[in-house]
């Protein structure tokens, strides 16, 4: 066999394995979602809400130059339906009016606080508490990045569980109750996350999504389909397999003592949310502790998706880099027998399909046609093969939309469902290639060792604002 033939076979096998695993994930996710939906009629959340044994939670909100939206976010978080929580906003050395806006809105007054023992983080400037809401405090510190701010919040948190929230995330009123439910049911759960959705196109009023809608422009709509696929299929599936490696930084809860014992968030990666979860898995498995990282297949948080190619590209490059940094740092997992499913499935899967995926895809797009043109490969075969892999990809997108429609049916309008189905049919032509390109860039950046974050301009959530431009 010639080299070309061998690589042809490799690509073939790769696509078959990848697509089969996606398909089996879809089946697993479908079962899990149906079971979850059925359990909604016997949800004991009212009891949990009233119960004195429901553990209290510290909500951590890191904010860097979020003057536009931070007041709105805090206000909506204070309305969360949960029996007992405190809220710690960490102003990470903002250079805009973040602190001023918070001070005015919540009657903050400066206090003197003893810094608890715990993690290390950039020096604190001032600590303020709200005279209006006793559960709210704001810590203003020197800039140290998101992970550093979260470590500060973790240190000051007084409750056994912490909930990390992005300043721009919009939460469902009972998001915390829902995401805490696996913990309430099973004390060995050390972390839990839920479904994150795209807020573009939704009507937002006072920090609550009042009407769910699709974005008007194509780029964020593509991301809606992509999120459906990632969360409804991917995360649900990994959750079922007890090998969930990512809890979205936008919204997740953690057992504080475990996070503290593994050393908190890592400040030298751009993917600190994934890195923390992987590190928790790794250390707990190493120590032989029985534990679980849970995924709640409920839409809990809404987040703003990039609307321009430039910003989206930056985000995807950063995701790819973060993913690779985490996997590289924890590469030891694959040779550690105590790591179980992480060693033989989760990490290899991520390396093979998430890290190498873009490379193989590029190879497929570039090398195979050339080989075909030279007559080394049967050109008809190449075309037929591409056709199958594309149509298969389309099927996964369409199934994700179908899962949404069968379970949550959050998009109220018929034409929106129609559009969603349409985008699911077309997102393999163009958008997929675009993300592959960005991820390739991310790989290059990782190899070069860039660590800085892409800046994402936020517009903030105004009242009665229909964000769909």
């Amino acid at each position: 066999m010639s080299l070309v033939e061998i690589s042809g076979v490799v690509v073939l096998v790769y696509f078959v394995v990848l697509n089969l695993s996606y398909a089996s994930f879809t089946v697993v996710a479908w079962r899990s979602l149906v079971a979850h939906r059925r359990s909604q009629d016997s949800l004991t959340s009212d009891e949990v809400f009233r119960s004195p044994l429901t553990p209290p939670v510290s909500i951590l909100l890191p904010a860097f130059n979020e003057a536009a939206g931070v007041v709105e976010s805090v206000r909506s978080l204070l309305q969360l339906r949960y029996p007992e929580f405190e809220m710690i906003v960490v102003d990470d050395g903002s250079t805009d009016d973040t602190l001023k806006a918070l001070t005015e809105a919540f009657n903050l007054v400066e206090v003197e606080k003893v810094t608890p023992p715990g993690l290390s983080f950039a020096p604190i400037r001032r600590v303020l508490v709200s005279a209006k809401h006793p559960e709210l405090s704001v810590i203003s510190k020197q800039n140290g990045g998101k992970a550093d701010a979260l470590n500060c919040g973790l240190t000051f948190g007084r409750f056994p569980y912490v909930c990390a929230v992005d300043a721009d995330a919009i939460l469902e009123p009972d998001a915390l109750l829902r995401v805490m439910s696996p913990i309430i049911d099973d004390r060995s759960v050390v972390a839990a996350g839920g479904i994150v959705r795209i807020a573009n196109g939704c009507e937002v009023d006072h920090g609550n999504v009042t009407r769910v809608g699709l974005p008007r422009s194509p780029l964020p709509t593509m991301q809606v389909v992509e999120y459906l696929r990632a969360f409804l299929v991917g995360r649900v599936g990994w959750g079922e397999l007890r090998a969930l490696l990512i809890i979205s930084g936008a919204f997740g809860v953690f057992k504080r003592s475990v996070v503290m014992s593994v050393g908190g968030y890592s400040t030298d990666t751009v993917g600190e949310d994934m890195e923390l979860v992987v590190r928790m898995h790794r250390q707990l498995r190493r120590s032989g502790t029985a534990y679980r990282v849970a995924f709640v297949p409920d839409p809990v948080a809404w987040t703003e998706a990039p609307e321009t190619l430039a910003v989206l590209g930056r985000q995807r490059r950063r995701w790819q880099r973060g993913l690779m940094e985490t996997l590289w740092r924890h590469r030891g997992i694959v040779v550690d027998r105590r790591q179980g499913i992480l060693a033989w499935l989760a990490v290899p899967y991520y390396v093979l399909f998430e890290v190498l995926g873009p490379l193989v895809e590029l190879f497929g797009y570039v090398v195979v046609p050339i080989a075909g043109a030279w007559g080394v490969l049967d050109i008809e075969f190449v075309i037929a093969f591409f056709a199958v892999s594309v149509v298969w990809g389309v099927m996964l997108s369409v199934s994700a939309v179908a899962l949404e429609e069968l379970t949550f049916r959050r998009y109220p309008l018929r034409r929106e469902v129609l559009r969603l189905a349409w985008y699911a049919l077309i997102d393999n032509f163009g958008y997929r290639q675009l993300t592959t390109w960005w991820r390739l860039h991310g790989i290059v950046e990782f190899l070069r060792g860039r660590k800085d974050w892409g800046v994402m301009p936020r517009r903030g959530f105004g009242s009665r604002e229909v964000r769909s431009s």
Partner: protein, 329 residues
Amino acid sequence: MTTQLIALSIALGVVNIVIAGAVVLNRLVARYSDRRYRRAVEQVRPIVLSAIAGDAVSLGVRSRIELLATGDLLAKYGRNLSGDGRVHVNELAERSGVIDALVRGSQSRRSWKRAACVYRLGDLGRNQAELLIVRLSDSDRRVRNAAARSLGKQRCTEGVRPIAYAFGRGTIARAVGAQALIDIGPPAADALARLLSSGPVLVQAGAAELLGRLGTVSHSSLLAEAMDHHDPEVRVAAVRALGRIGARSAAARILPVLGDPVPFVRSAAATALGALGSRDAIDALTVMAESDEYLPARAAAESAVLLGGRFPDPGPHLREAIRMSEVTA
């Protein structure tokens, strides 16, 4: 090979279009049935509301969808009602056959259906302890949780022991079991007292915690004994419960706990002394606030300030507590 691949891709393409079409079709059907359901709800609503207010209403002959709507409405309302309203909900549910359907459903082979029916019996039914207690040992956790909840909702005193048992063995969610016992009220306290003296550590802790909500001064000597328990979780829960019950006499028993080897037990003791208003503890608390490690020192400072202590030269914890009490006042 090539031909097969092309055939496969065409077949998959067709599948895709079928799925996409099914999504849209499903929405159309759902819209239709949603509308029918909503219409039924609006038809039944005035009748249900008037029945809840105590009127003698007749339901007449009902279609399946109306029966469904009646059940849903009754459950929604019943969940928020107690007293007379609740009695009327139950009467209507019995008369309209909703209860019978739920009792049948509670024996379904499908676990989610059992869970849903058992759950709803809590909103609609009355005195179904026997059925619910059986479900408390169901093979499915959701059913067990639902059964505990419903026993609480129906205030079945017969449910106290089995719930306490399930709570103890961890076969139901602790928060749910706890709330069920609280809903049942004072009769649950004695069962909890028994759990406190035996059972796994986590249960003893939970029992102590709950006794703090349901117990009376009569349980304080039992809780005081639990303060000597070998497990710090139980000690903490006992101290907290004593603080909450508010028996002044307990203060003297809690004072020595300020010297507990485990920091969070010391914290709990300091907080409880503050809650009990025991001014004799101010000196000990002040010393602790100045010298102990972070958590107990903070708790001690908060309590010392709460008790109205005077501090000529307060350290950092006391300064923080004084300032915080000014802010929240």
